[in-house]
Symmetry: C2
Subunit: 329 residues, 2 copies
């Protein structure tokens, strides 16, 4: 394979968008499939399609077989959003009404269901065409884990305390496994050796954990002009993010109790953020969580360094890691 | 194969129940899987497992490979109930609280989702073990059609009129295809020839249509002591069953309008049933729908007669048809 065939990320995303635009989401009965078309046309960062196509492009060069799988992964991601938005009672997503809000709960449930089936059909077709039943098995295992992650997340909201390791396991399931599966599927489609497939999976797990921890960090320490979100949304909502969990871990039981009480207080937003911000400052949470997030970046780098492949291939992976982790928004 | 291995239906259901009782529905996170175990232990007639095992037992003798597929079909059926009960706002099913009512909407959505994935995993495993990718493809196609049927059913509730052919297409999708797939999967697992597989599928379609039409008929003309249900529930709720659709088909536009108005009237139950019962009597609906339902029984018999198999095998299929169609409840 010659390096010349390697395409910039923007180019891969554009090729995916072109493929996706030709796909016929809306069929009869139109009330069933219209919400599918609606959510699929809403945008989003296309991280999972890019992960798959980038690996295929880097380790094989030919991405044609990857488009339907990339589409299926993006569709699966959107299926989870469609159902999660009902559970979270979310009114908007990507600046537009959620499916649940626009079409009603029943439509969001049923259109999500049919989406999950159509995703599985797409993956099964590609698995058969590429003679890799592994892709289907990996997809089903991943889909189950994503449901498990969502359940843990819902359970944690009801619980007084959650340990850091429980939190990390939750985000591994809810966020990391789908990114890891996207990278691994790219490798499976490229007929890469099992070691490379597994290494890319592990890269995806660590990248996903780093991504989510960074996301939690940005919520309070990010620049609201860059994130486009109100600072401290998680704290105002009383969500169990890595910031509060790290703080709790570093306190004795008496102070844990005090912080938890403050975290639950019904104050106006400004006072609440000031109060919790004080705790965080005392406990050096900004740096501690930043270090933790950087440790995942380092794990990704260590995984890439040990891989047995060309240095330009490693650089492509590094470029992807940077894209996912170095965002300011 | 010797006929001696052929087992009575009760025996097949008991063997299925024994297999199902050993299956581990409840895993961690327990809040995700507990509702799955709850609905799977609630009972039900086990029509789909019986359909599959009966075909396997009749055309092959060995039902061991059928149990996991039978379980997956029953689990899929229960997944549809779990989500449909949210959409119908149903409080009880099989005399017990629905999952939605007992565990909440969010649990019913998410546990249904994971159920659908687990069903697909089971079917995929069996498809691979039996080297019949057709089973998985048939399952996915069926799952999609069942969602489409549910959507048509929901759409019809909002519409003023529905034609008989639209109604039949809706119940084909919502009810028949899963029964047809169950019979066909039994034949696929028995390595039957493609003609037999397709014939059993067609038998299931007609049997399912007959079953559903009979169900609608029993709602008003059944014996409430035997059905255990209040007479005329569909009419009281204003549901578009085959009774009202047949009546409308036989009227001129002016009288259609009158009947539709009566059907929408908010009267006490007794008066409503008396009013609509009068229309039905004038139009001879009891006999007309009865004839239609019998015509599907005849179609089933015609399909069985034309099959190329032993007469004792045909009799087994007849026994199954009778079991499904001749119920008084």
């Amino acid at each position: 394979m010659v390096e010349a065939k390697i395409r910039p990320f923007d180019d891969l995303i554009a090729a995916y968008q072109e493929y996706s635009a030709r796909y016929d989401f809306i069929k009869d009965p139109v009330h069933l499939y219209e919400p599918v078309g609606y959510i699929m046309k809403q945008g989003g960062k296309k991280i999972r399609p890019l992960a798959l196509l980038m690996v295929q492009n880097t380790f094989n060069g030919n991405i044609n077989s990857g488009f339907p799988v990339a589409l299926a992964l993006e569709m699966f991601h959107n299926f989870t959003l469609m159902h999660d938005d009902i559970m979270d009672n979310a009114e908007t997503r990507r600046g537009q009404p959620t499916v649940f809000h626009k079409y009603g709960i029943n439509a969001a449930i049923l259109s999500g269901d049919v989406m999950l089936v159509e995703v599985t059909q797409l993956i099964n077709k590609c698995s058969r065409e590429n003679q890799t039943g592994q892709i289907l098995e990996l997809f089903l295992q991943t889909a189950k884990e994503v449901c498990e992650g969502q359940r843990f997340d819902m359970d944690f909201e009801q619980r007084e305390t959650v340990s850091l390791s429980e939190y990390l396991e939750m985000i591994r399931l809810k966020t990391s496994v789908l990114l890891a599966a996207s990278l691994k599927m790219g490798a499976l489609l490229s007929k890469s050796n099992p070691t490379l497939c597994e290494t890319l999976y592990q890269l995806g797990i660590n990248l996903g954990l780093g991504f989510q921890i960074h996301d939690d960090w940005l919520d309070f320490y990010g620049d609201s002009e860059q994130t486009g979100k109100k600072i401290g949304g998680d704290i105002i909502q009383g969500k169990k993010s890595i910031l509060i969990l790290t703080a709790l871990q570093d306190l004795d039981p008496v102070n844990q109790h005090k912080l938890l009480n403050d975290y639950k207080l019904k104050l106006n937003d400004e006072d609440k953020l000031a109060k919790i911000g004080q705790w965080f400052e005392q406990l050096d949470i900004k740096n501690k969580v930043s270090k933790r997030y950087l440790s995942y970046q380092e794990k990704c780098e260590a995984i890439i360094q040990q891989m047995e492949c060309e240095s330009w291939q490693k650089n492509k992976l590094r470029e992807f890691v940077t894209l996912i982790l170095d965002r300011k928004y």
